[in-house]
């Protein structure tokens, strides 16, 4: 039982990181209709941006987070303007392949600038808190709180602001959105900015939880897509739920099977969802 609760805590932690990545990926899919394969590497580059801020200015990670989010948002908008915008009118599969190429470019860029060895934000051992038999690292609580704040922020953005509503409108009924004069180009820029910022946050949290590595985002891409599909593609709230479910499932699976099979669990959930419930677990609304 204790082990179960401990794994559940870890699962929620992993789940909130996945959720942040999946929300961005699902919004990009909703508005632009293509699976963004460079999303994981966008996460990684966000984590490295934060690393630079941390080492150069000697700031705590949480202070570097907004800077990293801003830089990654700018980068995502820039990539879209330079690479994706030109090929948006052609088949989605071309966009998908272009995003593969972008992923490779981003990863190589990380290796060029920061090197390919493991990095950490803070050296030294953090003393975990002991709550009865359970252990909890202060960083974990920090990640969980920050992720919750961001998710609430996304919710407010989607429901309260004009741009958020326009974004939902575009992913809901593209034709109607165009004839009612919703500014498609603006919405697309906003989607990339938000998606990039959330990816950076996910990357930084992942780096805080484990370590920084050029392929850290790439390895997480599969669980992120699994979360996206489980929640129903193009649905931000579904992606949050999907992220949490996948995260918990991956951690809890270690009770039964070896930990190295964690990605396989995400993959299995994705396959089962695609076979039995391709529209996702959430019915009807949002």
């Amino acid at each position: 039982m204790i082990e179960f609760i401990q794994l559940l805590i870890n699962g929620i932690l992993l789940g909130s990181i996945l959720a942040l990545g999946a929300v961005g990926a699902t919004m990009i899919f909703g508005v632009l209709r293509f699976a963004h394969f460079a999303h994981g590497d966008l996460m990684a580059i966000g984590a490295y941006f934060a690393l630079t801020v941390v080492t150069v200015f000697n700031l705590p990670v949480l202070a570097a987070l907004p800077v990293a989010m801003l830089l990654t948002a700018g980068l995502a908008v820039g990539i879209d303007q330079v690479v994706y915008r030109r090929i948006r009118r052609v088949q989605p599969v071309i966009l998908l392949i272009a995003s593969f190429a972008t992923a490779l470019v981003l990863r190589s860029f990380i290796q060029m600038v920061w090197g390919s060895s493991n990095e950490v934000y803070e050296t030294g051992i953090q003393l975990p808190w002991r709550i009865g038999p359970l252990t909890l690292k202060p960083d974990h609580l920090l990640i969980f709180v920050a992720a919750t704040v961001l998710v609430i922020g996304v919710h407010l953005f989607l429901t309260r602001t004009k741009m958020g509503k326009a974004m939902r409108a575009m992913s809901d009924n593209m034709n109607l959105a165009l004839v009612t004069g919703i500014p498609a180009d603006r919405v697309i820029m906003w989607t990339w900015a938000i998606g990039g910022a959330l990816a950076a946050a996910a990357g930084v949290f992942l780096g805080m939880d484990t370590r920084l590595h050029p392929v850290m985002g790439w390895t997480l891409l599969l669980p992120i897509f699994a979360a996206t599909i489980l929640g129903g593609i193009g649905r931000p709230y579904g992606a949050i739920l999907g992220g949490l479910v996948i995260g918990c499932a991956m951690e809890l699976s270690t009770l039964i099977i070896p930990g190295s099979y964690k990605p396989a669990v995400a993959f299995a959930i994705m396959v089962v969802t695609l076979i039995f419930r391709p529209q996702g677990i959430i019915k009807g609304s949002v």
Partner: protein, 259 residues
């Protein structure tokens, strides 16, 4: 207001619209009737910018708008609704309206950060406007319902409401009465009349329900086989043998069975 000049459009060998010219006068509710396949919807799509004409011109208040894309026409105040109502199904009725108004501070990435109070103020104004539209259409009780759950008739009201969120001047309604129950139809007709009277909207309406046309429209244009065959008020048209023939077919009135 809208001048349609010698518009033609063919699909392959089929001449859907042939040299049609008429004017929708400012402040009028102009009807457009005709049997199925007469070319009414094609003409609408051309006026609304969804289809390009093979030849001919369209002017909106004197300005040539031929071939302009739909969203540009939208900003010029020319709005259309569809035969099958469209909605943002996963958004609430109120959100469906709030998403429409354009040129807002909240659209710019920079401005929304630097002048967030403007965005908030603008958003409040839009919210009030949406609530007024809902009250006008008497569907305030559906405010927080997801648009996808509305009935066909309620969706048509929502379509009409969407046009009220812009500075619409001219509205093209494609079969507003189709599939709408009697009670709601009365409400819809009333909303159209009030928009025309109180807000000075100009309407052009395609409709098969002759009672609705007779109640709302003057003048009425009649199309058949892609051509404009008559125009005038409904009483005159009912007496016009050419119009009756178009609707009833030569087979019945002539008795020759030529078809």
């Amino acid at each position: 207001m809208i001048e349609i000049e010698r518009i033609s459009r063919a699909f392959g060998g089929l001449q859907a619209v042939r040299e049609v010219s008429f004017t929708v006068a400012e402040g009028s509710i102009t009807g457009l009737i005709g049997p199925n396949g007469a070319g009414k919807s094609t003409l609408f799509s051309i006026v609304a910018g969804a289809l390009a004409p093979d030849s001919g011109r369209i002017r909106l208040q004197g300005e040539d708008i031929t071939g302009l894309p739909t969203h540009q026409l939208f900003h010029k105040g020319l709005v259309r609704t569809f035969q099958i109502p469209h909605e943002f199904s996963r958004m609430t009725v109120r959100e469906n309206l709030m998403v429409v108004p354009a040129r807002q501070a909240g659209e710019s990435l920079l401005q929304s950060w630097l002048q967030w109070w403007k965005v908030v103020r603008e958003d409040r104004a839009i919210l009030r406007q949406a609530d007024e539209v809902l009250a006008f259409l008497e569907i305030s009780h559906l405010r927080d319902e997801l648009a996808g759950n509305l009935s066909g008739g309620q969706k048509k009201l929502l379509d009409l409401g969407r046009t009220m969120m812009t500075d619409a001047r001219a509205v093209l309604l494609d079969e507003p009465g189709a599939g709408v129950n009697r009670t709601l139809l009365g409400k819809l007709a009333e909303a159209i009349e009030r928009l025309n009277r109180e807000r000075g909207y100009t309407f052009c309406v395609i409709e098969h329900d002759m009672d609705l046309i007779a109640r709302l429209c003057d003048p009425v244009m009649v199309m058949a086989n892609g051509e404009l065959i008559a125009q005038g008020d409904m009483a005159t048209l009912r007496a016009n043998p050419e119009v009756r023939e178009a609707y009833l077919g030569t087979g019945i009135s002539g008795g020759t069975g030529a078809a």
